[in-house]
Amino acid sequence: MGKEIFYFLIFPGLLFSGIVGGFLSWFDRKITARVQFRQGPPLLQPLYDFIKLLTKETLIPKRGSQLTFLIAPILALFGAVISSVFVLLPLFGIKTGFLGDLIVIIYLLNIPSLSYMIGALASGNPLAAVGASREMKLILSYEVPFLLVLISIIIKSEMSIKLSEIIAFQTANGAFIGSISGVIGFIVVLMCIQAKLGLVPFDMAEGEGEICDGITIEFSGTTYALVTLAKYIMLFVLPALVVALFFAGMNFEGINILWSILKVVLVVLLVTLVRNTNPRVRIDQAMRFFWIWMNLLAVVSIILAILGL
């Protein structure tokens, strides 16, 4: 059990992915600033933000369920960390019995969103409720294309649903991004993680200009610090998952380290660029986008995968 707790708390769990996630969040902000002809925040900014939020006063909404409101951020953090463990262990090639398959990862990746929703709803704030309902609708929309792409991955890796086997298969037979179905699947997944991370154009759950940060409106101080940390970690986990699924995972021998890091950074860069070149869409547009176009693309990707392309 001690090993699992080490994985969970230190590496590659809470501490490690928190630090890397914080760095990636800085990277994201820096790139955003660069795109906008600005200088951007200093490197330690995510740390400053986090510590500052920890020390701020925490406000608890009066008209909601207070205990639920306090537990929700912790569960969000748990969801982010446990999925980071399940994604990163195979990704780093650490051989251990502590694993989860793809279906487990899909479900675990939804826990942070679910927790935000429950926390937001427990706050009793109407704007948070609007945000939560949007978040839920967003989950409904991206869940199916995300799953379909994973199915195409499963087909391509000859019906394996374990991440380590998928990576091994890619190492042996070349990365999936090298095939047409892989490219299409990658595009779909990119959109899905955009929505999962709640970034523009799919940030309607937080829509600052519409519903004042929506789902996170009531979190303050320490609770918001945990939410922020969970978001940092998600910003690392999801690109890492994409790297595992499409870019043959990571390799830590010699110069390959550089490539491995570059892969994650590249995915984050793409996410950031998409975020900075689009306005926020409406929730019904987002749903239509995922239900029709992304599903269509994902189905095409599956068909191509069955055909072996």
Partner: protein, 137 residues
């Protein structure tokens, strides 16, 4: 100066509140975000919810109708919170101080930590004001 204080100073999240202004100061506050001034360099950013705010930038005279709302929002802000009065109106009431809806100036309503006068103060002035305040603290 402890690490916590340093973090606080390095990561000021700003909530903008207008208390009956003429828009000039508000626009100039937004101007601070833009490439020319870029307050994100100092870790500042504009937030949408008062719950995340560390700095309350208040502009405008305090009108009669807004008085209870300003108190309400200030009460909902997580402490410690820095209140900065931006512009002549918020500092003194400016040329509107004789108006029948004037209930300010701001420091009679909520405790104010710093004043940035001007009509409107330039973005540079606002930045200077915030930075000076923080250095004194």
């Amino acid at each position: 100066m402890g690490f916590k204080e340093k973090c606080f100073k390095k990561s000021l999240w700003v909530f903008h509140m207008s208390a009956g202004s003429c828009n000039n100061c508000d626009i100039e506050i937004l101007d601070c975000l833009t490439p020319k001034f870029d307050i994100e360099r100092f870790g500042m950013k504009l937030v949408g919810s008062i719950r995340h705010a560390d700095v309350l930038l208040v502009t405008g005279i305090v009108t009669r109708k807004l008085l209870p709302r300003i108190k309400e929002v200030y009460d909902q802000a997580p402490k410690p919170i820095v209140v900065i009065a931006i512009g002549a109106c918020a500092c003194t009431g400016g040329m509107f101080k004789d108006s029948y809806t004037f209930k300010g100036p701001l420091d009679t309503v909520i405790p104010v930590d710093a004043y940035v006068p001007g009509c409107p103060p330039k973005p540079e002035a606002m930045l200077a004001g915030v930075v000076k305040f923080l250095n004194k603290k």
